[in-house]
């Protein structure tokens, strides 16, 4: 490498990076490409890298059940997102702006709850929800998936609110704004990009959830896409083209969000996961 000049080195690095990315992202390609194959090509002993006969059949077969599961996924993801934002954005702001007593405990609550997995609370939440009679309703998955986003969003937004110049709010308060309008009219607009990123994360977390939805909502009419695809796999385990077609539809929102706001997502991911 040493005898290469800077330009050649740059080209070489780019080529290596592209190759690495192609290998790494191969599973993603594989999902998409197999969703366009016919049954007999899927069953062929030697897999093909590109569909011999490009077909939308696998998608057409899914359309019937999709209207229900898609609606469920959207309701659950949006409901969970709205609930999580209503609670966590003010909390992040409060933790950044007010020197309240016990602040460290509050931050700890979020840090710890963020680490605890769904499988830990599945049994008790199931028993509690069954007592409340909200199994097989949208409440159960919305309430439970919000617990994934809330700590993440709090930890992700707090640094942003901390870095915001306090003078702006002070000036607003002098102009007669109270604490709440200072939050809504000053702080929120300034941190808008981060809050939107946070919204995307909450949406994706709820959209991706399998454990909660699968456990609390067993009725077919209440099932979101994640648990529908899992049930589908159990019934038609070898119809990989149909499974992959379903998979493509399931990854679309994540991919869309990712492509449109990649930079914010990457930043949010690091701060939401680590910093207190």
């Amino acid at each position: 490498m040493k005898h290469l000049n800077a330009k050649q080195k740059n080209i070489l690095m780019n080529i290596v990076a592209v190759i690495v990315a192609c290998i790494f992202l191969f599973p993603l390609y594989w999902i998409v490409v197999n969703s366009f194959k016919l049954d007999n090509e899927i069953f062929a002993a030697v897999p093909t890298f590109w569909p011999q006969q490009f077909t939308l059949k696998a998608y057409q077969e899914q359309l019937g059940s999709l209207s229900v599961t898609l609606k469920n996924s959207v309701i659950i993801a949006i409901g969970s997102m709205a609930l999580a934002l209503c609670l966590s954005v003010p909390a992040a702001y409060g933790l950044a702006r007010y020197k309240v007593r016990g602040m460290k405990i509050f931050v700890l609550v979020f840090l710890i709850t963020q680490m605890l997995p769904a499988s830990l609370v599945l049994t008790p939440l199931f028993l509690i929800f069954s007592k409340l009679g909200i199994l097989n309703s949208y409440f159960a998955p919305i309430l439970s998936t919000a617990t994934i986003s809330i700590p993440f969003v709090v930890l992700m937004l707090r640094p942003g609110f901390l870095n915001m110049p306090k003078e702006l709010e002070d000036a607003a308060k002098i102009d007669g704004c109270n604490a709440f309008s200072a939050f809504f009219k000053i702080a929120l607009p300034i941190c808008k990009p981060t809050v939107i990123t946070a919204a995307c994360f909450s949406f994706v977390f709820a959209w991706n959830d399998l454990a909660y939805s699968m456990t609390f909502n067993v009725k077919e009419a209440m099932r979101p896409m994640t648990s529908a695809i899992y049930t589908f796999m159990n019934q038609y385990g070898t119809k990989w083209n149909s499974i992959m077609a379903y998979g493509v539809l399931l990854i679309l929102p994540s991919c869309f969000i990712f492509v449109t706001m990649q930079k914010h997502i990457v930043e949010g991911m690091t701060s939401g996961s680590v910093k207190g």
Partner: protein, 442 residues
């Protein structure tokens, strides 16, 4: 470190105080999302009654009629559509009762019955796989219908089938449809390889050897870790003189060793431990397997997946020194605890009546369990169904035992352990027998 510990203790205490008012703390929390986001409020009430509402939308003639729910596990793209047709026919045949048929995958259905006992979310009536019937009856999922049955003038079922509905001397359901297993074979492939339809285990192995190629296995079976795996294993077990109650006998071990050899030699795909019977059908339909073990309910699937496939059906090959054996599969219908018994009974006696039983069973690939329906006669001249019709009368039932699900788990686990090479046949069978012994001593 010390500080974090102190904080955590405080945290644990805060959580602790919550238990005290647990009951009251739950309720407001549950209402929270409705207050937080008005958009959701509109959807939520709709959410709780989605099932009935969608069903109503499809059939607007439900007003003023007694509505009952019927659960089944026949998937909508296959036999399920015939179930729906039958239900629709019933709904149109009278104007007192309206039945909502609801499909749930088999595993979900089982879970729902179990949890439904306490959560109170049981349907009015539903379908149950016959080996599981006893177990659910013992849990109190179903209503005792002994008296209703005794006063029914069409009460005439085959002994093996109606027996699966009895628990503790009381009747908890009615047989709906029977099935059993056979050997499906791809005529073209057998002809090309110059192979006769195998009738014994040695012949089957020899045939597999000739039929197996790089892209095609000789035989497809399902050895999945659930009831289907046990169901598929039973004909082999019984044919070599083995028994569920004596898995360590020579005959029992012989059957397991035989199947394991087929896999080891590459005649049967190792993936069979993940395959359901529907997957085996897909393999056969796609020409990935020259033969498969499966049942008459696959006819509709095969017609759909491979309309041009020329195939035949024979009995499951017998052990070289044994007899043909088959196992009774099928579904019962039952009325759930606390349901509308009267309306459900009317519906169930309609679908299991002599006339309807013949029709419905034929369309869903089952055989009528009624003693007054002669299935041999019915399918005379039908080269496919007649094979199953011939096997049917001698098919042995699983159980009946309230512990069958656990016994079955011991059997399919042993099968999976052997097929995936985790245990040898002797150990796996001995372990399974030990589990079954422990269950029966309970």
């Amino acid at each position: 470190m010390k500080r974090s510990l102190a904080v955590l203790t405080a945290l644990a205490m805060t959580a602790g105080t919550l238990i005290g008012c647990g009951g009251s703390a739950d309720t407001p929390a549950a209402e929270q999302p409705a207050q937080e986001q008005p958009a959701k409020e509109e959807q939520a009430p709709q959410a709780e009654s989605t099932d009935t509402e969608t069903a109503e939308a499809e059939n607007s003639g439900a007003e003023g009629r007694t509505e009952i729910t019927f659960w089944h596990y026949m998937s909508e793209d296959k036999e399920g559509k015939f179930v729906n047709e039958a239900v629709e026919e019933f709904n149109n045949s009278q104007d007192e009762i309206f039945v909502n048929a609801q499909y749930l995958p088999r595993a979900e259905l089982m879970k729902q019955y179990t949890i439904g006992v306490v959560s109170g979310e049981l349907p009015d009536c539903g379908m149950v796989d016959n080996p599981d019937h006893n177990s659910y009856a013992s849990m109190g999922v179903f209503e005792d219908i002994t008296d209703l049955y005794n006063s029914w003038d069409e009460a005439n079922f085959m002994e093996g089938s109606i027996n699966s509905c009895y628990y503790d001397g009381k009747l908890y359901g009615l047989p709906w449809g029977n099935n059993c297993l056979g050997l499906f074979y791809n005529k073209e492939m057998l002809d090309a390889a110059g192979v006769e339809v195998p009738t014994t285990w040695s012949e089957l192995e020899a045939a597999c050897e000739k039929l197996t190629t790089d892209s095609c296995k000789g035989l497809a079976i399902s050895a999945i870790g659930n009831e289907e795996g046990t169901f598929q294993y039973m004909p082999w077990l019984l044919s070599s003189g083995g028994s569920v109650m004596d898995l360590t006998s020579e005959g029992s071990k012989e059957s397991m060793t035989y199947l394991y050899n087929l896999i080891e030699k590459g005649y049967v795909s190792r993936e069979c431990v993940n395959w359901t019977q529907a997957d085996a059908e897909k393999q056969f339909a796609a020409g990935q397997a020259a033969m498969m073990i499966n049942g008459p309910w696959q006819f509709s699937g095969l017609a759909n997946d491979a309309p041009d496939l020329d195939y035949g059906v024979a009995k499951v090959p017998k052990a070289d020194d044994g007899d043909y054996a088959s196992v009774l599969g099928g579904e019962n219908v039952a009325i759930c605890t606390g349901a509308n018994v009267e309306a459900s009974w009317t519906f169930l006696t309609w679908i299991t009546s002599k006339e309807k039983s013949q029709e419905i069973c034929k369309s869903i690939g089952r055989f009528s369990p009624r003693a007054d329906v002669n299935v041999q006669e019915m399918f005379e001249g039908d080269p496919l169904n007649s094979v199953f019709a011939e096997v049917m009368p001698n098919a042995q039932s699983r159980g009946p035992s309230p512990d069958w699900p656990e016994i079955s788990a011991a059997i399919y686990t042993a099968q999976q352990e052997v097929f995936t090479g985790q245990k040898d046949v002797d150990t796996a069978m001995a372990d399974a027998q030990a589990k079954i012994d422990a269950i029966s001593q309970k």
